[in-house]
């Protein structure tokens, strides 16, 4: 069930912190409209650059990320260029808490999509999540496009979750998510341990 505007506003006013839907700062009341909450592009970015030392190995990304990424700050009122086929990691201006009984989908605004900008390929926000959302921003068009922090780039559509188990609250309420963009944590996956040990079938 998609959560409508009135219910979203009630959730945002919930007296108990764990039950509260938090989206802050909310620059305009118009951001909560219909059945979604608009989120804005934040000011911090991770720019991907061509590595001089080697490719990204998702199995071993713990060190040396500065070789293929750099952080940049672009204030509201400034702009940054996104070249064709360039990927940057951005972040929502808003810090978000999704209560345990909700989850959200991140949907890029179609008006940006028509310029070739793809937003947020990782589209699901789990129940209990706290933090700003990292946005994968890619320019799929042939023309460079400017990004302006503070503009509304995506919508959050919230759904009711029936009987969810906490995805983030296992640390006794001390969990705090990021306030800036985060690089891939693929190397943290437990699956790598198994994949490292498995010999290709032809070698067995």
């Amino acid at each position: 069930m998609v959560i409508g505007e009135a219910a979203l506003r009630r959730k945002m006013e919930a007296p108990n912190l764990p039950e509260r839907l938090i989206v802050t700062p909310l620059l305009s009341a118009e951001q909560v409209k219909g059945a979604s909450v608009d989120v804005r592009l934040g000011t911090d970015f991770i720019l991907m650059k061509r590595s001089a030392r080697g490719p990204i190995d998702p199995m071993a990304m713990d060190t040396g990320t500065s070789d293929y990424q750099e952080r940049a700050r672009v204030e509201v009122g400034e702009k940054m260029i996104l070249h064709p086929n360039q990927l940057v990691l951005g972040v929502t201006l808003e810090f978000i808490q999704v209560p345990q009984d909700l989850m959200a989908y991140v949907i890029g605004r179609s008006s940006w999509g028509r310029l070739g900008l793809m937003v947020a390929t990782a589209v699901m926000v789990s129940p209990g999540y706290r933090g700003s959302l990292t946005l994968e921003l890619a320019n799929l068009a042939d023309t460079p496009v400017y990004l302006y922090p503070g503009t509304r780039v995506a919508q959050l559509v919230f759904h009711q979750v029936d009987g969810s188990s906490p995805a983030y609250a296992g640390s006794g309420g001390k969990y705090t998510g990021p306030v800036g963009p985060e690089f891939s944590k693929l190397s943290w996956d437990q699956d790598w341990q198994a994949i490292r040990r498995i010999k290709p079938l032809g070698e067995q």
Binding site: P25, A29, K174, T176, V179
Partner: protein, 258 residues
């Protein structure tokens, strides 16, 4: 005739200052020669967003402030600008960076009053958090206690001020506002979310957010600093947004002293 060493330093200074915006370059050029090279060296590193933002919160006077990272607090001032170096290790902490106001005030009680007017009781916390007391520390402590009593003061802050030079015979009188109502923001910081007002609005009371941060337990302190800074930044942005888009229905409140 210049030695090659003098020429090398001259080239080095020109290379670095040449990349600076014209007003900064001119302000650096107006610094006393005995300190100019040290400030040029500091200008090579970018200022952290939190340090820059908090300078905006506490800033007084009519001259621009130029913040640079360093190993400790330092200040140089001329007719064009105020240069303030902050300890880079504390640069992501909004309350520690509020101490830039105390550095600017130095021994000028009029300046100190301006800082107190902007961040209220947080001026005292900023001294301990930023590890800077300055020549007015005695008066700051005595006037704070006179306004609010010693009950709100935690042990580390009390101990910090007990090590400062004693109060002058004629302490300066400062006007403080009400003690910040920080309980809600403290609860939010300890819980692990960005301090906010009902409905997701940014906190209108920045001194209350800074006071809440001061009382967060040490094991949560650095994470809470990032959350508190996000709240301060959100409030400043909300005010700017309100000024820029007055026709838009806005969830934020009135304009403050920032």
């Amino acid at each position: 005739m210049e030695t090659w060493h003098e020429i090398a330093w001259k080239n080095w200074r020109e290379e670095i200052t040449g990349a600076l915006p014209a007003p900064v370059r001119e302000a650096v050029g107006a610094l006393d020669e005995s300190v100019r090279t040290a400030w040029i060296a500091r200008l090579q590193a970018p200022v952290l967003p939190c340090a820059r933002t908090m300078a905006r919160v506490v800033r007084g006077g009519s001259k621009p402030w130029i913040l640079v990272p360093g190993l400790s607090w330092d200040i140089a001032e001329n007719e064009r600008a105020v240069f303030i170096a902050y300890p880079e290790a504390y640069g992501n902490d909004p309350l520690a960076m509020a101490a830039a106001g105390l550095v600017w005030a130095q021994s000028d009680p009029g300046r100190m009053q301006q800082v107190i007017g902007k961040i209220g009781a947080a001026a005292l916390w900023a001294a301990w958090e930023g590890q800077f007391a300055g020549p007015l520390a005695g008066s700051l402590w005595q006037e704070f206690v006179g306004a609010y009593g010693e009950d709100p003061v935690d042990g580390p802050t009390r101990e910090f001020f007990s090590r400062q030079p004693s109060v002058p015979r004629a302490p300066h009188h400062f006007v403080w506002g009400n003690f910040p109502d920080y309980g809600t923001y403290y609860e939010q910081l300890v819980y692990g979310v960005v301090p906010h007002d009902p409905g997701g609005a940014s906190p209108r009371d920045i001194p209350a957010v800074l006071t809440a941060l001061h009382f967060v337990p040490q094991d949560l302190r650095q994470t809470a600093a990032l959350l508190a800074f996000k709240a301060v930044e959100g409030q400043l942005l909300s005010r700017a947004w309100r000024r820029a888009a007055p026709e838009a229905e806005n969830v934020e409140g009135g304009l403050g002293p920032w």
